[in-house]
Symmetry: C2
Subunit: 267 residues, 2 copies
């Protein structure tokens, strides 16, 4: 990538950073992801140092936005009943672009997205779910077996879009920062990307369902991805048949939401 | 809790659910969390079945909201430099209420939030970080040691609010649904709550930083919480000294963001 459109400025001492911050957006509007850091790592090239005032001001979010965000959180659902309509062209790519803005340990961006269209793969995933679900049913407490059997736990047959998400624990990106004592931070970062994608999808009217009733290792084999990729979840996406602000498992009488104060203690 | 204000309706056959949906908000505006599911589990009591049209309509999110949501995602940062100003009274409780709307496996809501104010606890956490960070520094590749040592990786000294978040793998809530083959879904659900809290905080102008350079078992002991609670992260919250749309680790030259298409494959 060339440096056309990138404003230049003489090198600044570190203490001048409050006035002259490094900024990673090209003047021509190219996204930050497209900027090679090598130019900034090399102190002889300071194309990306911009004078204060030429970079975008921090946004202020008002009460109206916060109220809409709360509404989004309340109406985000784990969707299991989908209309067969396909997603618009480019929708998945757009959602993944937003997901890649999620926080990640050491800026490792360990998320790996696999869009599954192949009918043979989908069939194998469906059989894997059926077997895992039968085992889970058999493990239920006797008084819950009948209720469990009635739950609809996946939209694999109807959802137009199947998405498997993995965490790449072997990634060199991030240089190991922040995962010396907690290597599972790679998985957690990927979950943050999944949740970002979920919210962005709902904001477009697209529903998503998270399927965890699967054998993770077998899914890795079915999709022929590297063995170091850990399955975080298998997701169905599509337009929901119904919208609700109450979790399906609550309306089905499986479980109830508890009040937030019950999750909070002080030390 | 009484049933005043709850609309009642005769029992409906399951196929009538599209017209008459179960709804978990009391007419007097009490939050869904306050509704006891027992009345819905018991088929003789159908207080919560409401005629179609009396429940809130699904929200439609427009392009303006999606653009603001994208801005929020872009400007959410892992904050490590805080102003000393305390958070407003009730802010943490308000953020945790939103976090509790996050998706959770089997509606298990396994998140456990510990607000840490005690000076002795804070001191022990600070020492734990210092030891873990020294070990992480020693494990760096030789060419990265100097750069690692210059990074500011925690805001423990300045942040007015310390929050430890744990996942309760022993919770009975959710009745084990969805975690037979993937028990780690309890951890993932907690991460979704953390990410929800992070976005909600940023929408209020509050910054958050995620600390994972800690010994998780020792933090559990320091805070005297049940041994089955798994530490997901230790968080600093407060008003940030600076705002940016570029990750700190990118401006510091540690790592660069990659473009979203590099994370996507097809099967």
């Amino acid at each position: 990538m060339g440096t056309q459109g990138v404003s230049t400025l003489a090198s600044k001492a570190p203490e001048a950073r409050n006035q002259h911050r490094l900024h990673a957006r090209l003047a021509n509007g190219a996204p930050i992801e497209a900027v090679s850091i090598s130019r900034r790592r090399n102190p002889s090239i300071r194309h990306l140092v911009r004078p204060w005032g030429t970079m975008p001001s921090p946004p202020a979010f008002d009460e109206g936005f916060r109220e809409r965000l709360r509404t989004l959180l309340i109406w985000r659902r784990d969707v299991r009943r989908f209309r067969p309509d396909p997603l618009p062209p480019g929708a998945v790519e757009r959602l993944i672009e937003l997901a890649a803005l999620a926080p990640s340990v050491g800026l490792s961006q360990p998320w790996r997205f696999v869009v599954v269209d192949d009918a043979v793969c989908r069939g194998a995933v469906r059989r894997n779910f059926a077997a895992a679900n039968a085992a889970a049913l058999a493990a239920q407490a006797p008084e819950r077996v009948a209720q469990y059997a009635q739950l609809k736990l996946a939209g694999l047959d109807e959802a137009p879009c199947h998405l498997a998400v993995f965490a790449d624990r072997a990634t060199a990106q991030g240089h190991g920062l922040g995962r010396h004592t907690m290597p599972e931070m790679i998985d957690y970062s990927t979950v943050a990307a999944v949740h970002t994608l979920w919210l962005a999808a709902r904001a477009e009217g697209i529903g998503m369902g998270w399927l965890s009733i699967l054998d993770p290792r077998e899914i890795t084999a079915i999709l022929d991805v590297p063995a170091e990729w850990k399955l975080i979840g298998y997701f169905c996406l599509g337009y929901p048949i119904e919208e609700d602000d109450v979790p399906l498992l609550e309306t089905a009488g499986w479980e109830e939401q508890r009040a937030a104060p019950s999750f909070l203690i002080h030390r």
